[in-house]
């Protein structure tokens, strides 16, 4: 319940409403236990973008990390927010159920960052 108190009507739009992105949506991507990057990074993509584009962007950013080459892609775990899911890389964001401002969490069991630091 809001506790906001004001002297006058107070109505403002969200600065990050979907309509402000002209047909695109925000998606956040995080590689768990690899926090040396802009931790989750954010991109704006159209909903019909294939999920493979996200993987390409991840590679561009994360391949600096020695763990990237060690990933066993069959064991990788994906979450959208709190919920586990298995993305189909050939299907679109919309078809994979990824909405505006969703957070994709990518987990690679056994890979815990530089010297097991989580970075």
């Amino acid at each position: 319940m809001t506790m906001l108190k004001t002297l006058a009507p107070y109505e403002f739009k969200s600065r990050d409403a979907l309509e402000n992105y002209k047909g695109r949506q925000l998606v956040y991507i995080n590689w768990e236990r690899h926090r040396m990057f802009s931790r989750p990074f954010v991109v704006a993509l159209t909903p019909d973008t294939p999920f493979s584009t996200i993987i390409a962007q991840m590679a561009e950013c994360f391949s600096y990390h020695p763990d990237w080459a060690q990933i066993d892609w069959d064991k990788a775990l994906w979450q959208n927010g709190k919920n586990s899911f298995t993305p189909d890389r050939n299907k679109s964001l919309a078809e994979n159920g990824i909405g505006h401002k969703d957070l994709i969490r990518f987990r690679t069991p056994g890979l815990d960052g530089i010297a097991g630091t989580g970075y």
Partner: protein
């Protein structure tokens, strides 16, 4: 001496005569119309005369002492500049802490000045009105003296001249801007808790005491004098904040839950704001007097703890976030430094990897965390840099909707895991760095849905230099972000190899021979 009993008025008498006795109740208009902001937050005040400034400072004494402070300050600044004082600092890396400190603080001082000017207008009692007016003038003084300091260093070092332009645009300045914007758009009593209490009483001690003492330790007399001169006013500001808290709690028991929520909120917001001060102390001062962790223990845990224990008689409890801040003091400075190190193309100051000696100091000061979680990462970056692959992470970060920090803090109890929190409001998702920021959002979502998050604004096409056509078919948002930020290209990149590094070495050489 018999003559001591002069005609001079006593302090208490003078204070009464020159504050309350100069005020009056309005008759042409009712007082609640003249002071329309005092009631709407729900704070009940029955007797404004119960508010007394314990310093009992009157305007005439104020001008006298403040002008004396200014004379001392500028005498030292002049001496420093006449003697090329900038070359007497420990090493040129030090200059970067000034770029961060002086580049981010003056606009916040100006916001404080604006805020206290408003309080000086809207507080109904004469006591707080006078004290707030003094504080407004103090904050302008800090703003001006800090800018004078910038002008002295800016003659020699890169990246300091566009701080005003960058304040409302750059990613890493958003947390401070958001802190003050949040405070100044609240009502007068919440503003007093936010700035007067949480910021001044609990938090400025960290910025202006051990950090400024550290500046002195590194040979920077100019930053030392500017910092301590400002802090000499802060003792008065802290007192004003504390008086305001006590006043509200003593006036009406109904004020307690409101005040408690504000204390919880602003202690946390201040804690987040200080994460970057942690890295200034632990990583950016070439010579360090104490770790951020030690400063936190001294000024926040002990001093803040003493205060909360004292306020328990009014029913105030320790802020909910307090235990998390104690856990985080072992981590935040390291997490912040790595956060800035990864972005060499996005700040007007340089970053670097600490020397082996400095890492040993960090191990000693952070025995529970540094070697286990942070040293291996810094050593990896160091090896990469030496192999010609200096880390440069170019993706845009995710930020907390409330404190606007980049999401980088660990899950409480698990330093390996990132802490994420989210909620949905009016069909839209919002993300937070912590339970405390989520709670702040949920209390007043109408306010925080308006947050300016730099990465998002770039992606909306709102962060382009003049002349860029955001509707052009080949438009790529953020391509020209450095120009939008007016970032001095010479100030980018690692400290090693920077123009500042070369100039400083050359100028020092010149200072010792013909």
């Amino acid at each position: 001496m018999d003559m001591k009993a002069s005609k001079k008025l006593g302090l208490k008498e003078r204070y009464t005569l020159m504050t309350r006795d100069l005020a009056w109740d309005t008759t042409y208009q009712p007082m609640d119309k003249v002071f329309p902001q005092t009631a709407y937050e729900g704070i009940k005040i029955h007797d404004w005369d119960k508010w007394e400034d314990p310093f009992r400072l009157t305007m005439d004494a104020y001008w006298k002492y403040q002008s004396e402070k200014e004379r001392k300050l500028y005498a030292i600044l002049d001496g420093f500049n006449q003697n090329n004082g900038h070359l007497s600092v420990t090493d040129a890396r030090y200059i970067n802490v000034l770029k961060l400190f002086l580049g981010s603080t003056p606009p916040l001082e100006l916001m404080a000045a604006r805020g206290f000017s408003m309080m000086g207008r809207h507080m109904q009692g004469a006591g707080p009105r006078v004290a707030c007016q003094m504080q407004a003038v103090d904050e302008y003084r800090h703003f001006q003296t800090q800018i004078h300091s910038i002008s002295n260093y800016n003659k020699y070092y890169n990246g300091m001249d566009e701080f005003a332009h960058q304040q409302s645009r750059m990613w890493y300045l958003s947390d401070g801007k958001s802190f003050f914007d949040d405070a100044i758009t609240a009502g007068p009593f919440e503003f007093m808790v936010a700035i007067g209490f949480a910021f001044e009483y609990v938090l400025t001690n960290i910025l202006f005491v051990p950090f400024i003492s550290g500046a002195a330790y590194n040979g920077d007399m100019a930053a030392m004098t500017v910092g301590f001169s400002a802090q000499s006013d802060e003792a008065r500001h802290m007192t004003l904040g504390l008086e305001c808290i006590k006043f509200m709690l003593e006036q009406d028991p109904d004020n307690l839950p409101i005040v408690q929520r504000w204390i919880d909120k602003w202690t946390w917001r201040g804690t987040r704001k200080l994460a970057s001060v942690g890295m200034m102390m632990d990583y950016m001062l070439p010579k360090r007097i104490m770790s951020f962790k030690e400063a936190w223990e001294m000024y926040v845990e002990e001093n803040g703890g003493a205060l909360f224990k004292d306020l328990a008689r009014y029913g105030i409890t320790i802020p909910k976030c307090f235990s998390q801040t104690i856990e985080e003091k072992e981590h935040v400075s390291h997490q912040s430094w790595i956060g800035f190190y990864m972005k060499p193309q996005a700040t007007p100051f340089h970053t670097w990897i600490p020397t082996p000696d400095e890492m040993d100091w960090l191990s000693e000061k952070y025995p529970n965390t540094f070697d286990q979680y942070y040293r291996p990462v810094l050593e990896f970056f160091d090896a990469q840099e030496k192999a010609g692959k200096r880390f440069n992470n170019q993706t845009a970060p995710m930020n907390c909707q409330v404190c606007v920090s980049t999401i980088k803090f660990n899950e409480p109890g698990d330093p390996m895991e990132m802490c994420f929190r989210e909620t949905t409001y009016q069909g839209e998702k919002f993300h937070f760095c912590s339970d405390h920021c989520q709670e702040i959002f949920e209390h007043e979502p109408e306010k925080y849905i308006q947050t300016f998050i730099s990465s998002h604004q770039v992606l909306q096409g709102n962060c382009e230099p003049e002349g860029v056509d955001v509707n052009a078919p080949d438009f790529q948002p953020g391509k020209q972000i450095l120009d939008y930020w007016k970032l001095d290209k010479r100030a980018l990149g690692d400290f090693n190899g920077s123009e500042d590094q070369k100039n400083f070495a050359a100028w020092r050489e010149q200072a010792t021979k013909n």
